[in-house]
Structure formats: structure tokens, C-alpha cells
Subunit: 348 residues, 2 copies
């Protein structure tokens, strides 16, 4: 990229910090964008250097999603707010049964935030975007005064193209369908909680934060009649299944023993009095598929590194529409309700 | 919309406030979304009720833009953060020479923020979206603790389809082109500043915050060979023209007397020691068009309510590439530099 007149001053990323002037829209803003964001996100569209980017037509149905990210702390085992901001939105687009193509990213920076930390976050976004094969095509940066933010908040929006013409929606679960989860639950949420609580056995916990676009493509290739795809983030598996049960007007019967939970997550949950069913995931998906495609969907998940520990965890029922029930190891049945309390604020 | 199981509790919007639990991802989050956001934004795509929305193919080139909005105060004459969040992004998409179609909206809410104020903002977004003929198709809501935000921050992302196959870009200004501005400058920025400074003569100031998609369509119909479209927001007219001069490798010569500035903005600028050239606009655009299309572009602007006071304010030159110069009323020439200082933080 040629040096443009007016972009001559070099920012001291190693020792510098975000200043109010970086949000002014003037030269300092341009320098920050040019030397930090454009430097790492580099792609043909972003390099158009405009407030907007222009891409080729999207000739299949278009999927759009967005997420604001306010996770605390900003850095955690398995990722950081940057990786999360890419994966969270990529996954929401993928859950429409779509291939994510483009991301936009808006940053709200707090005055005084170290530029070196910002660079780590931006690098991490760039890496996650490469992993997910999406381009960050446009962005925006605002600065707020000390005490009006918390380091950095990142909002991302994603655009993708549908991989299938069939409807994939939370309204589409049908009695008899099998419910699959792509791996062990609760890892992202318990990683964040263990950091906040300074739990020393947290060393074995790591966020599952990962892009799931490939896994979705694999599942749809194997089980083309998939009815629902959803990633159980905030509120966890229980809340997401309750939403789907409500939207589809169906019941669900889960098998508690079939739900994969790691020993580390189980131990941390017991210590903090939490239920892994309500703890956020950032690299897991729920697929609800017709019974005759369940084996194929499960095999496709097992063949993908992101679905190695996938399992069939229950069945969609006609009985008790809107309610999720679970058979316990003792053989009893209990209702799995919505998350109602303030369990885990600022988890993503 | 049918009442879904689990959505039974009515939120007290008139007297209630944002609580941490509204960001938990559980029932309270769903209630807030259902009763506040979905209620006002209602459209076929949003009503899909998913983390993502699916829309028809976009068969023309796709324009994408995004903006984070942190304006302070949240409410001001002529608009509020909601109207701004819609217009800011709609306009960035339009400046690609595109018709804006869809918006996504992410909210970062501060604990304790009155729900009644949030409803005003959401209503204002809905109204601006109707005015701009875009649909808010997907959204996200996060809550941060008291003292970690400032009421509400809104990030929007917009998607549109190109109206023309020609390139419209800040790199495309060519010597001999005419520079047009669609109306009087500095109104948004001076409205915000006068509120912050408690200036009593601020009563005549009103933000120009408005969607410009129609104006862009009119200009492109009249002047199909338009080279550059840009909205001079943060940093104002001077900063935007400097950016374009840098990107295109051209010079510019402005005529100071031709630049429209209202008496109220001029007075407020003099009082606060500011230069209107550097003050943000939220309802104005710059068009740079070949000399033979300048009259047609100007007439098209004059025929649109949003361009009534449009004017030709200068010419693109070969001399002094990267620099913007201005002929003063006295006949002298001065350089119009970038905005370098921290003039107006949190203006949008």
C-alpha cells in the first residue's frame, strides 16, 4: 500500500494507549486505523479504504447476524474478546445453514486502554477470521472517556450465503426428531467464571471458542433435511432448547447421562453451585434432525475435529409443548426450565 | 404473533430500568427483546426470531458498512442516538453508490438505564428505518455494570445493493471535477456542542441527522458518472476532503464564500472558537462529479428536500496532490489541513 500524504506519523503501539483524539475522526483516527486495524485485517475489500466496502453479488439467500461483545476479562485461556467477536458472529450466521463470507467490526475503546493489548486483540481477530475463512471488510472505531467503558467492546456483524434451500429455523423442530450436541458443554462459561473467581484448578479449563462454519457444512452435507441448528451461547444448552421448544411448539425429552460434560467443567460447576446446562458455549452447536438422518449427522460431527465428542442427547416430543424435560440417571424426569437468574453476566 | 410459552411476564417499561439480568441470555433477555425491540422493529425478517435472519439473494454488487455510536448526550434537537445509529450506517452504505436494504443493531446497555428512555431510542430507530426504507433484521443486547458504559451504545451494520456498475470511491476524484456539498455544514456537531456547553442560543440549532439514500439515488440518476460520494461526519468537511485528496492523489481548491453555513452555526462556532469546516454533519454529502455533470448533480440536489441548499464549493486540481486549499473572501489562499486536535469527542 502506498504511503498516503497525511499518514506519516508512526504510532507507538508498544508503549502507547488509546487517547480521546483517536476517536476524533481526524488524523489520529486515520493513523490508528491504518497502522493497527488495516495492517492486520488486510484484504481486498477493506483496502478499498472507504467507510463502506463493495463486494460481489450474493446469488443465494443471504444470512445476516450481529453480536455485541463485552466479555470480562478480555483475555482468557482459549481466546480473547477478539476471537470471540469473530467466532460468535460467524457461528450465528452458520446456524442459519449458511456459509459466512464477510464481517464488519465496530470498536468502542476506553481512553487509556493499552495499544499493545488492542493489537493482540486485533491479531486474534485476524487469525480467527482466517480460520473461519471470512474477510473483515469494514469497521469503525470510537473512543469513550475513562470510566465510560471497560477496555474494549467489539460489535461484529456477519453476512453469509445459505448452503441449502431448505428452511433451518428454531420453529422447525418436529416430534420424533433427534437432538444432537456437537461436544462437551459449559467450557467457555466456566473458563470465564473460574478466572473471575480466581479458582486455581481453572488451569485445566479452556474456552471452546471456535468457528463452526465447517462443521455446519459437514452436517448439512450428511443430513440435508436438518430442521434446526443453533449455538447454545448465553444461557447455555437449557435456555437454547427452551427457546426452540417454545418457537416450534414441541416438547423435548433429554437423557442426562448422554449430555457430554468434561470433568473439569463438572468440578468447577459443583464448586460454584452452577448447572452446566445453563453455562455458555462458544464452539458447540445443537442440531435437530429427523430420526432417519441422526446417525449420518452424528458421524459427520465425529469426523470433524470440532465435533469429536458429539452425542445424541434427546428426542423432540409431541407431549408438553414448550417444555424441556430430562430423564435423570436415577430414572426420574425433571423439567429443565429457562435460565431465570443472573447467572453469568458479561460472559460474551 | 402468538404468545409463546415462557414469554408471559410483562416488563414495566414506564418505570423500569435495565438490570444485569437483561443481559444474561435467559428469560429476562428474551422478554426485553420480545416486548421492546421486536415490538417496534417488527418486520418479516426480524420476526424469524433467530440469532440471524435470512433474506433473498442480492443480485447486484453488495455494499456493507458499520458504525459504533457513542454520542453524548443521547437526546438532542433533531434526533437521538437511535436516529443517528440508523442514519449513520444507512448513509455510509449509500455513499458506496448503493441502496441500503437491511440493518443489524447491537445494543450495549448500562445497568440502571431507564427502559422508558430505551423505548424512545428504539422508537426513533424504527421511525428512521421507515424513513430510509430499510429493515432492522437482526440484533443483539448486552448489559454492562453501572460505570462501565454511558447509558447506551449502539452499533449498526448496513447492507445494500449497488445502484450503478461504475466505481464510486474516494480514490476516484480526478482533476477538473467539481466538488458539491448537499447543504449547510456543521449543524450536527454544533448542536451537540451547544448542549454540552449549555449555550442558551442553542435553541436555533438542530442536528441535520437524516438518511440520504434517496438523495444519492437522485444524484446518480442525474450524474451517472459521479466519481466520489462521501458524508462528512466526524472531522467535518475539511477532514473528509483531505482523505479523498490523499486517496485520489489530487489537490483541491475550495471557494470559502461558496460553502453554505447557517448563521446559527457560524455564531456558535465563533463563540466556541471552532471552525465549521471541522464540525460533524449527519445529513449532508459531498459529491465529486465531472465538470460536465456538475449542473445536473446540483439541480438534482436542489430538487430533493435534503439538498435544498446544495452548492458547488470547489474544483479538483492536479497541483499539490494530497492537499486541500481554499480561496478566502479576501482573495488569499490557505491550506485546509486535517483535523489534528481533539475537537469534538463523542459527537456520533
Amino acid at each position: 500500500m502506498p504511503v498516503k500524504p497525511g499518514y506519516a506519523r508512526k504510532i507507538d503501539i508498544r508503549r502507547g494507549a488509546v487517547e480521546m483524539i483517536h476517536g476524533s475522526g481526524g488524523r489520529a483516527t486515520a493513523e490508528l486505523i491504518e497502522q493497527l486495524f488495516a495492517e492486520h485485517f488486510r484484504n481486498d475489500w477493506l483496502d478499498q479504504g472507504h467507510d463502506g466496502a463493495v463486494m460481489p453479488p450474493i446469488v443465494r439467500p443471504v444470512a445476516v447476524s450481529c453480536d455485541a461483545h463485552v466479555v470480562k476479562p478480555l483475555f482468557f485461556p482459549g481466546g480473547d474478546i477478539g476471537r470471540l467477536a469473530v467466532c460468535g458472529t460467524v457461528n450465528d450466521v452458520a446456524m442459519c445453514g449458511a456459509k459466512p463470507l464477510y464481517l464488519s467490526a465496530s470498536f468502542i475503546l476506553e481512553e487509556g486502554f493499552p495499544l499493545a493489548d488492542l493489537e493482540c486483540i486485533v491479531c486474534s481477530m485476524a487469525e480467527a477470521a482466517r480460520e473461519a475463512r471470512v474477510a473483515i471488510v469494514t469497521g469503525d472505531t470510537k473512543v469513550v472517556e475513562r470510566g465510560k467503558g471497560d477496555g474494549v467492546y467489539i460489535s461484529t456483524s456477519g453476512i453469509g450465503e445459505k448452503l441449502t434451500d431448505r428452511t433451518i429455523s428454531g420453529k422447525n423442530a418436529q416430534p420424533g426428531d433427534k437432538i444432537l450436541v456437537s461436544g462437551a458443554i459449559g467450557e467457555h462459561g466456566m473458563t470465564i467464571m473460574s478466572l473471575r473467581e480466581n479458582m486455581t484448578f481453572g488451569t485445566t479449563l479452556e474456552s471452546d471458542c471456535a468457528p463452526l462454519a465447517d462443521l455446519v457444512a459437514d452436517v448439512l452435507a450428511a443430513a440435508p433435511d436438518t430442521h434446526v441448528l443453533r449455538d447454545p451461547t448465553r444461557g447455555g444448552l437449557a435456555t437454547t432448547l427452551n427457546e426452540i421448544a417454545g418457537e416450534s411448539g414441541v416438547g423435548m425429552m433429554l437423557e442426562e447421562t448422554a449430555i457430554p460434560v468434561s470433568n473439569a467443567v463438572r468440578a468447577a460447576c459443583e464448586f460454584l453451585g452452577l448447572d452446566p446446562l445453563y453455562v455458555a458455549n462458544e464452539g458447540k452447536l445443537i442440531a435437530i434432525v429427523p430420526a432417519n438422518e441422526a446417525d449420518a449427522a452424528l458421524a459427520a460431527m465425529h469426523a470433524n475435529a470440532r465435533g469429536r465428542d458429539a452425542a445424541v442427547i434427546g428426542t423432540v416430543t409431541e407431549a408438553h409443548p414448550g417444555f424441556v424435560e430430562m430423564r435423570t440417571p436415577m430414572g426420574g424426569v425433571r423439567t429443565v426450565d429457562w435460565l431465570t437468574g443472573e447467572q453469568l453476566p458479561r460472559i460474551c
